[in-house]
Every structure is written in C-alpha cells, then in structure tokens.
Amino acid sequence: MWQWFHKWGSAKWFYQASAAWSRVFGYFALLFLTLGLVWGFVFAPADYQMNHNYRIMYLHVPSAMLAQITYLLIAILGLVNLVWKIKITPILARAVLPFGASCVLLALLSGAFWGRPTWGTYWIWDARLTSTLFLFFLYMGLWACYSLLPASMGRNSAYKAAAIVAIVGSVNIPIIKFSVEWWNTLHQPASIRLTQRPAMPASMYLPLFASIIGFYCLMVYLMLKRARLLLLEDELHKAWVKEVEPKLVGGS
C-alpha cells in the first residue's frame, strides 16, 4: 500500500507509466465514442415525440455529466494534494481542467441546439441551464488561478491555493444548483420544463451508455496526455527529464 502511494510521488515513474495508460484509454475512447455516437446518431430509432432532434442527447448528456464530474475530480485531486502532498495530483487537476471547461461549453451549445426545436428558443433561464452557465465561470476562475497565481506566490503555493479554490467551488456547486432551482420555481411558468421522459428502450439507452463511457475514457486520455506535457514543463531542468527525454534540451 505505502509503496504504491510512494510511487505516485515520483514524477519519473508517472511519466514513464502514463505513456502506456494514455494509449489504452485513447483506444477505448475512440472505440466507445465511435460506437455510441454512430449508433446513436445513425441507427437508434427516432423518438415518437421529438423525432430525430433527441439524438443530440448522445452528446449533451455525457458532456453535461462530465462537466460536473470533472470539477468534482479537480476538487478531490486538490484535497489529495493538500492532505497527502502527492506531487502529481495538482498537475493532473490542471491537466483535466480544459476538458471540463470544454464539456460545459459543449453541454451549453448542444443544449441550445436541442432547445431550439423543443422549446422554440436557444436559451431559457431554466435551473439546469443557468447553473451550468455559472459552472463555466467557476472553471474560468480556477483556470485563471492556475495561470496567474504562480507569478505572485510561486508554483507550489499556487497549486495549493488553486486546490482550496476548487474545494470551495465544489462545496458551492450544490448550493448554486439549489438556489437556482428555488429562483426558477419562483419565476418560471410551469409550462416550460425539461420533460420527465418515459423509460427509453434499450436501443436508445445502450448507445447513450457507450457514449458516456467513451467520454470518461476521453477525459482520462486527455488528462494523462496533458499532464505528461505539464510535468515536463514544470520539471524541465530536473535530471530525470534529460534521462527520459534526451532530445529535450532543458532549462540551460
């Protein structure tokens, strides 16, 4: 157990091991996304209410899910960094951030294009849409922390400060959701609602599952890929970098 923990403290070990993992997750992402999206967009049956419009669900649902889960992941990685001081966790958190922010954007955009034919408008001040919009700004704030704070407090302190921001943000996400729902019930006429859908047939939800798994794999793949680059950038002048990547002329 402790040995396993200890390994995560070693940047070199992570850099070497993650090459293979990222490849595995990359192939899985390709497989499941192709399966889910092709099945969903081409072969799944049309919906009796929404016809073909519902197919955007195969992008919208996974991206909306991953948008929230990625923020939670960043907060958990931050907590691990603060408590156990494992060096690689802030780099993983920083690496997965653009994926999470992109998921929020994708969820908002796909939601808009789904909303247009369904509700007749690209944007409504619905509780879910609104809280997703604020989630986007939480991501942007965190991103700004990672890129600006190293200048004022040094990189290691900046990573810890950003971890605290992520934890504060993740405590706030449910409160923001709850408050927006409260506000929503106060102000919205009940007619515009995301409809409670009846149970979907397997031919509709199986591609959705495939697509969700594909998004998870894509997250891990992109996180590892980017973490490897960030790690090299952070540790450019360390001895292990010259050893592992002799072609990189580091620092000096």
């Binding site: 040094g154 990189r155 290691n156 952070d234 540790e235 002048h237 360390k238």
Partner: protein, 201 residues
Amino acid sequence: MILQAVNLALRFDDWQLWRGLSFTIAQAELVHLRAANGRGKTSLLRGLMGLNHWLEGDVRWAVDMQAEEDFAAKVLFVGHKTPLASELSVLENLQLLQGLRGQVSSQQQLAATLQDIGLQGFADMPAKWLSAGQSRRLVLSQCDLPSLRFWCFDEPFVALDKMYVEWLVAKIQAFQLSGGAVLFTSHQEIPGLAARELYLD
C-alpha cells in the same frame, strides 16, 4: 542553547538555495550572518522565524521557547519592512507592536521609550510622516521589552544615522551581557560588535 539548526535546506519553488546547513546559537552569543547577495540570508532568517518552510531539516528551540505565546514574548524579529500602520499615531503603533507580544506598558514607560529613540514630542503624529530612520527606530524600540531572549535582525543598521547605530550597538551589547542572543545580517562593518561569523554558501 537558544536554538539549534540541523541540516537545513531551503528552496524557492524549484531553485535550491543551499542544503546541509547546521549551526547552534548559544545564550549571550552574537552571530553575524554573512553571504553574497541573493544567497538566501533573508530566507534563512524568515525560516528560523517560522515564516518559510524548510525543504529539509529542522530547527530546535530551547525548551522554554517552544510554545506559541513563549515564542512571541521571547523572540523579536525585525526585518526589512516596518510593520507600522500609517494612519495610526506613533504612540498607538508602539502600543500595538508591544501588544502583539502580549506586553502592556504604562504611560511613563511608553514616554521613556519614545524619549530613548528620539521621538519624544511626536507621540500623536501619524506614523506615515516618520522618516525611514525614525520608523526603524520605532520598530527597534521593541528590543527593550524585558521578556525577550533572542533578537533576529535583518539589516538593522540600514537607515540609521551614526548616533543611532551606536545606540543600537550599545543595546546589543547590553542584551548580550544579560544573557540574550542576537542573530543579524549587515552589509556595513559595525565597529564595536565582536560577533561570531556564520557563512552561507
């Protein structure tokens, strides 16, 4: 013994400044810390004061100085900065500086302190109108607090004129005689201070 530093290493982010530094400061000892610019003298002093983290190593304080309130009462740190609130008066700032160490002085004592540092008659003036030398004297005046056992001064002679350099030297010598220890940095050579020299490299 006042403090014992064991195998200290310091870094700023990824830049390691030095490692394997060990030294001891005994009672009634005067230590002059010397190093070239940018070698981390200030960082070492701040680290000893608990304001920086060490990469490695440990600082062991005398047993009766380890508790938080003991440390505040017995250790005086005067750095480059002058921790004065510019809108508060000289007297209020003096009271606050002493209050931070849990000390309350009578009006007579405060007046005597101001007299000692040549600020008599300025008690009600806002601290923002003090000159650099006057501010420094006000901060250094804390060294008279009777509970202190260790002074840690970063360039204490900067901005002081000749008269107050001698004043501070006399204070240091008197403190040493009473069993106190002083660790300081200084670019100037100060006549009359027989200090052990500690080199950083």
